[in-house]
């Protein structure tokens, strides 16, 4: 994590080799927070209460105007963004063609559902496998070049796929109409994804669809956390900082970059497959370059090189796109005084402004701002700690 250096002085090593941690609450909290179980546990709790807060909680949900299906969509894009940040934030590679893996997996899952089996798990496995293979090939070709050339190559390959599915492959993909007629079968043959969960779980989490997506989202976060804290994650960060130095150290930079690309493609594939399951439909749009652009904006908005930032970014983006765009009149809160009519139609403009402000005020994104704030609080609470 980005603020690990703040713990530098919190433990000292004695001659006997035992670590004497100073016993302040702050230091202990740091240790706990670093542990994987805690990260995954907190993620699971947040994911579990999110739909209730967003769409059913008193007052909050009335202000937010959230709804269950959007909560699911936010998690799906969140998975995509977490994987994208592995590439952009941690390895330092800006792909502008991730729509290829998102849309490719969505189509693969949809086609498998229509021809082989519409079991949600089969669809996720098939979509992800397709995305991984595709990422392998496109990464192999695109990573021959660095910097802007890499970005342009990924963009070009993704657009090739878009035009392929628009016309030449229309017999498979449904062309301009998108892929229709997908009816997802119940999970494990028993649980209808659209039906509500029983009792308290139903109030809290909502339907089986959200539970299914939520479990996969938590697993994805756990996987990303594990990768980032493994030697692989370390090498990714080393490459981001200085590619040539990493080579001098003796690392096969190209191979690691390809690996980062494939892993991030796999996350996009999981998310794309879930998108098909969620919507029972694959729009041609899902391969278009705007999707690649959206994931870049979400990730940067939330904060690159952080695990959770991109999820926040995805949430904010989708919130503006789906909720704010539906607002008819902007009023002064708790009054009827209208400030702007047809407010929702300006949602693109609003999103642009939000993006501008975030980049201007907090270049490290929302999560970066949160981290800075936390560091400030810790400094005030912890006295002499740097």
């Amino acid at each position: 994590m980005s603020d690990r250096n703040t713990t530098g002085e919190s433990s000292t090593k004695s001659d006997g080799g035992t670590v004497i941690a100073d016993n302040t609450l702050v230091a202990r909290w740091e240790e706990i927070r670093e542990r994987e179980a805690t990260v995954v546990g907190v993620t699971a709790i947040c994911v579990a209460i999110f739909p209730w807060l967003f769409s059913r909680a008193p007052v909050i949900s009335d202000v937010l105007l959230g709804y269950q299906s959007l909560a699911t969509l936010i998690l799906i894009w969140g998975i995509f963004a977490v994987g994208f940040d592995l590439l952009l934030g941690y390895t330092g590679l800006l792909s502008f063609g991730h729509a290829a893996f998102w849309g490719g997996a969505a189509y693969a899952a949809g086609i498998v559902a229509n021809t082989v089996s519409a079991d949600p798990i089969v669809m996720v496995v098939a979509g992800t496998a397709f995305a991984v293979l595709l990422a392998w090939v496109l990464g192999f070709l695109s990573l021959r070049r660095g910097g802007i050339y890499f970005s342009i190559l990924t963009l070009a390959f993704a657009q090739m796929l878009y035009y392929m599915s628009a016309a030449p492959l229309a017999f498979l993909t449904g062309g301009e109409n998108g892929l229709t007629g997908i009816s997802v079968t119940p999970l494990f043959g028993v649980f209808h994804l659209e039906s509500d969960l029983p009792s308290v779980a139903g109030t809290l989490i909502g339907n089986w669809m959200y539970l299914f997506v939520g479990v996969i989202a938590v697993l994805s976060v756990a996987a990303a956390y594990r990768i980032l804290n493994s030697p692989y994650g370390m090498v990714f960060r080393a490459i981001r900082e200085n590619e040539q130095r990493a080579e001098f150290v003796g690392l096969n930079v190209w191979r690691y970059k390809l690996m980062a690309f494939i892993i991030s493609g796999a996350f996009a594939g999981i998310a794309g497959s879930l998108f098909t399951i969620h919507g029972s439909y694959v729009p041609l749009q899902s391969l278009y370059w705007t999707e690649s652009g959206e994931i870049v904006i979400m990730t940067v908005l939330g904060g690159t090189a952080s695990l959770f930032g991109p999820i926040l970014g995805a949430g904010l983006y989708l919130y503006v796109e789906n909720i704010v765009s539906g607002v008819q009149q902007l009023t002064i809160p708790f009054t009827d005084i209208v400030l702007i009519n047809d407010f929702g139609t300006y949602w693109h403009l609003l999103l642009g402004l939000v993006f501008l402000v975030v980049i201007w005020v907090a270049p490290r994104g929302i999560w970066g701002a949160v981290s800075d704030l936390r560091a400030l609080v810790r400094r005030l609470a912890g006295g002499d700690r740097r």
Partner: protein
């Protein structure tokens, strides 16, 4: 057979001919200094050895332990036992000290598991040994490397190189930009490493400091070797020192 042999190496940056037939060798166990003015070709020589591009080595051979390594990619040369500590910002600033050191293990695993039939005279140091050698780094394990002082960063870069399976350590201007007191610390470290048996090729502009440690020295000027002898001989050869080193 010398540990490292350069035979008539001609290296180019684009069309400019930088190294003009450099021939030199480094014997096992010694500290060899490569001296010369700014732009004489010192760093180019090191980069040619380490497999960095540019420069392009168009003719001549670089051989390490008798094996031709000319034109091999940098990562393979490094995994094969030559560690380069490049000049200036030598570490990964946003990785912690411990992570910087751990990178060496990743490389060691690679050279151990990829079935390369490599034998190393000097297995990489263990983490404990490294921290024992460099207590300053031990104190700062969890600190980001970019927040270390210049001298500490240099120590860290050397420590990382030592943790790797290293038979030849290439040091590019290790004293550059360091205060005299810190230079002494780095000198001590280099001396200790040498006593442990690692061969060192030391590239320096600071000739006086380099000669102090070195067994033998080469002087390079305009891409050619103009002096080849023991450190003692160079110390006494005032003409060469004045003409090519300005000291």
């Amino acid at each position: 057979m010398s540990l490292l042999e350069l035979d008539d190496v001609n290296a180019y940056y684009g069309e400019s001919h930088i190294l003009r037939g450099v021939t030199m060798n480094v014997e096992e166990g010694e500290i060899c200094a490569l001296l010369g003015r700014n732009g004489a070709g010192k760093t180019t020589t090191l980069r040619s050895i380490a497999g960095a591009t540019p420069p392009n080595v168009r003719s001549g051979t670089v051989s390490f332990k008798g094996e031709d390594v000319t034109g091999k990619p940098a990562e393979d040369v490094s995994a094969g036992g030559i560690s380069l500590v490049p000049e200036e910002r030598r570490v990964f600033p946003n990785l912690t000290v411990a992570e910087n050191l751990h990178l060496a293990e990743v490389v060691n695993n690679k050279s151990n598991t990829w079935g390369r039939s490599l034998t190393f005279e000097h297995e990489g140091m263990s983490t404990e040994d490294v921290y024992a050698q460099f207590p300053r780094l031990d104190e700062r394990r969890d600190q980001q490397a970019g927040t270390l002082s210049g001298g500490e960063q240099q120590m860290l870069a050397i420590a990382r190189a030592l943790k790797q399976n290293t038979d030849l350590l290439l040091l590019d201007e290790p004293y550059e930009g360091l205060a005299p007191k810190i230079i002494e610390d780095v000198e001590d470290a280099v001396q200790r490493i040498s006593e442990d048996g690692t061969t060192i090729l030391l590239v320096e502009q600071n000739a006086a400091a380099a000669i102090k440690l070195a067994d033998r020295a080469y002087v390079v000027d305009q891409g050619q070797i103009v002096f080849d002898g023991t450190a003692e001989e160079l110390r006494e050869d005032e003409a060469t020192r004045e003409r090519y080193l300005g000291v």
